[in-house]
């Protein structure tokens, strides 16, 4: 018996060793990034200390594509700002694995211990909801790049969003459809266990009814537990004769829908939201399946304006030639929006987080911001953004703006 206990303990220790490896990897890179940030900050200007901005997001796990993109975008913005001289930014990202329960809050607490003044996260809605309650309590200003649930912004007056809220995105999708495909028979497949997906569908259905769109299938839902087989939902849309299928969920499941539809020879127009962004980067995914896919994304990496071109070039250089997606652009915009507001309000590394929070709220109530993900963006009193929606079509494996 003792031998068994000893063996079990040995196994546990081995397991713990591996677990340790897993956890330390992102921290090391963060530390490296952080160190370089600090050296830049100290070298450029000797006067005021740098502002500490923190981010939490999934740097590992099933949705790490988003977290890594946001971090990549933010690092570019921070490097650009620090190179300019003047106000400096010290940036740190923590992994929350998109886990809204305990990991998100502990990642946030780690950042607070580090001395974070402004919170530029979280990346996913679940984590943001958990952290928003804390941030509202602590009075730390929070501007999330990509958490789109209404509840996030409504948690506190100091919580702001850089992306559309879910119902707003659903409503703009309905408007776009009524302009482009007024006579289409529309089918909706969505994830009823996910706040993002069902939020969009709520806004979409309300607006679609208002606009008189023909929604033939509106209940083809799936949940996190049974999403391994989506053939029934696709068959429902096919049988109802839908020629436009709305897929307001993430690309992981969308690639399944596209693959199955292709196998059974069903070729409607597929219409996705910003969660669809990233589908072309899935390893092993046949991009020809996504041909003609329409998705709403405020950022187009093929745009030819100077800001986008320089951002895309820098991002590719930092990330082994990977093309930045909308999340990277959101992250970049978040840092610049915060920077602009901090400069205007005169916030620096010495301003306590609570004071900075009040000053930033004043700034965001009145400021207008031009960024990569839109021009003349403004925020309402709830912290929700207002900007023009944009959509792209996948043509020959790249995004092309929809006219």
């Amino acid at each position: 018996m003792k031998k068994f206990v000893a063996l079990l303990l040995a196994c546990l220790m081995v397991a713990a060793m591996f677990a340790g490896c897993g956890a330390s990897e992102p921290e090391e890179t963060q530390a490296a990034a952080n160190n370089s940030g600090e050296t830049q900050a100290a070298a450029a200007d000797g006067s005021a200390p740098a502002i500490k901005i923190g981010l939490t997001g999934p740097l590992t796990g099933g949705t790490s594509e988003y977290g890594l993109a946001v971090r990549g975008g933010m690092e570019i913005a921070v490097a650009e700002i620090n190179a300019k001289g003047g106000l400096q930014i010290d940036f740190k990202a923590e992994d929350d694995e998109a886990d809204g329960s305990d990991k998100a809050v502990s990642a946030y607490n780690t950042l607070k211990d580090w001395g974070m003044q402004i919170f530029a996260g979280a990346v996913t809605t679940g984590s943001s909801l958990a952290i928003a309650a804390e941030a509202a309590n602590d009075q730390i200003f929070m501007l999330t790049p990509s958490a789109s649930a209404v509840d996030v912004a409504m948690t506190g007056s100091n919580i702001y969003q850089m992306c559309f809220t879910d119902p707003n995105q659903g409503a703009s999708a309905a408007e776009l459809m009524s302009q482009k495909w007024p006579d289409a028979t529309i089918g909706v497949i969505y994830d009823s266990s996910d706040a993002y997906s069902s939020g969009i569908v709520d806004g979409f259905l309300t607006k679609a009814e208002e606009l008189g769109l023909n929604v033939a299938v509106d209940d083809a839902a799936f949940t996190a537990d049974n999403k391994s087989d989506l053939s029934t939902q696709v068959t429902q849309c096919k049988d109802a004769g839908c020629d436009l299928v709305f897929l307001p969920f993430y690309y992981t499941e969308a690639s399944q829908v596209l693959t199955y539809a292709n196998t059974v020879g069903y070729a409607p127009t597929f219409f996705g939201c910003d969660g669809m962004d990233g589908i072309l980067n899935v390893e092993g995914f046949d991009a020809s399946l996504a041909e003609g896919l329409v998705l709403m994304t405020p950022f187009d990496a093929n745009a030819t304006d100077d800001a986008t071109v320089s951002f895309v070039t820098q991002f590719k250089e930092n990330n082994d030639g990977k093309v930045p997606n909308q999340f990277a652009a959101d992250g970049y915009d978040v840092i610049y929006a915060l920077y602009n507001a901090c400069v205007a309000a005169g916030i620096d590394g010495n301003t306590p987080a609570e004071e900075a929070c009040a000053m930033l709220q004043e700034q965001f109530a009145t400021m207008t911001f031009d960024g990569l993900t839109g021009k003349s963006m403004t925020w309402d009193e709830n912290g929700m953004i207002s900007k023009a929606p944009a959509a792209v079509v996948v043509t020959d494996g790249v995004y092309v703006p929809m006219d």
Partner: protein
């Protein structure tokens, strides 16, 4: 026609469950333990196949063979390191170890292959059979999965009833101590069972990901749990029961999604399971088949 298409969809996912359930039932029948890591061995099998096809550029049947080879070795190693030392301890200890192995495999896969999803290229190149002007489509994956399922089921039944090793497995299943007294090497028999179960898992992984292309470190866990349910449904320990349970589970799931509610399909599936277990506590085929594998 709609109903036929749903039936085919149901059989398609159901036969994937069935082939996973065969592995569960095999191990349970002989080693009397629930190998909760089975679903994760499936995931490893799918990743091996993905890597061999996509990184080495070898044809898909080679990738299936490689997956089978790796998973067989993995099964023997897991059994030797994690389960064998616990033989004779209460079954709860083994069960918890199995859950631990499951987490270990998932996290190891996350370290090796990262967590971003990969899109598995189907090993089937056959064009789908289109009937009635495209209203009814039978994909090559469905045919292959059903065929594989039947072959595996018949093969396993013959193996356990005809071969010496198979007979030894049945003996161990019926009475481990008596089998040992009759000169059967119990440890080796159980290792062989794990090897066969894990080889099946590799095949199941390739078939699962050919049907549902998203491949992630957690890919095996939900289908694994469903297949376990299917094995209980059909009568755990019974080989034809696992197959019947798997296919029925797939069909019930698809029909409840199609005609009742997509959101409550899980609740419906599991209610049916509970009702059947109340009426037949040993599962559908649990009693008719006296000899357990």
């Amino acid at each position: 026609m709609q109903i036929l298409q749903y039936l085919i969809n149901g059989i398609s996912i159901g036969s994937v469950y069935a082939i996973i359930a065969l592995g569960y039932t095999m191990v349970y029948g002989i080693a009397k333990m629930l190998n909760f890591a089975h679903g994760d061995v499936i995931m490893v099998g799918a990743y091996i196949s993905f890597c061999v096809t996509n990184y080495l550029g070898l044809p898909s049947f080679v990738s299936v063979l490689a997956a089978v080879a790796v998973c067989t070795v993995l099964g023997i190693v897991i059994e030797g390191l994690a389960y064998k030392p616990l033989r004779g301890t209460p079954s709860l200890a083994v069960l918890i170890t199995a859950i631990g192995v499951s987490y270990f495999l998932q996290n190891a896969a996350q370290l090796i292959w990262s967590s971003s999803p990969k899109n598995f290229t189907s090993v089937v190149t056959m064009d789908p059979i289109v009937l009635m002007d495209g209203k009814l489509v039978i994909t090559g994956e469905v045919l292959l999965t059903v065929a594989a399922c039947i072959v595996v089921m018949v093969g396993l039944t013959l193996f356990t009833s005809k071969t010496r090793t198979g007979k030894a497995m049945r003996a161990v299943s019926e009475d481990r101590d008596a089998a040992q007294l009759m000169g059967i090497n119990v440890n080796r028999t159980i290792s062989t069972t794990f090897a066969i179960g894990s080889a099946l898992a590799a095949v199941a992984g390739v078939l699962l990901c050919s049907t549902v292309p998203t491949l992630m470190p957690t890919t095996g866990s939900m289908p694994g749990i469903r297949a376990f349910t299917a094995a209980v449904f059909g009568g755990i320990g019974s080989i034809p029961g696992a197959m019947l349970g798997g296919i029925l589970l797939g069909i019930i799931e698809t029909f409840s999604k199609a005609y009742l509610s997509t959101q409550f399909s899980d609740a419906i599936v599991f209610s049916v399971l509970i009702i059947i277990l109340l009426v037949k506590p040993a599962g559908l085929l649990g009693k008719q088949i006296q000899e357990k594998v």
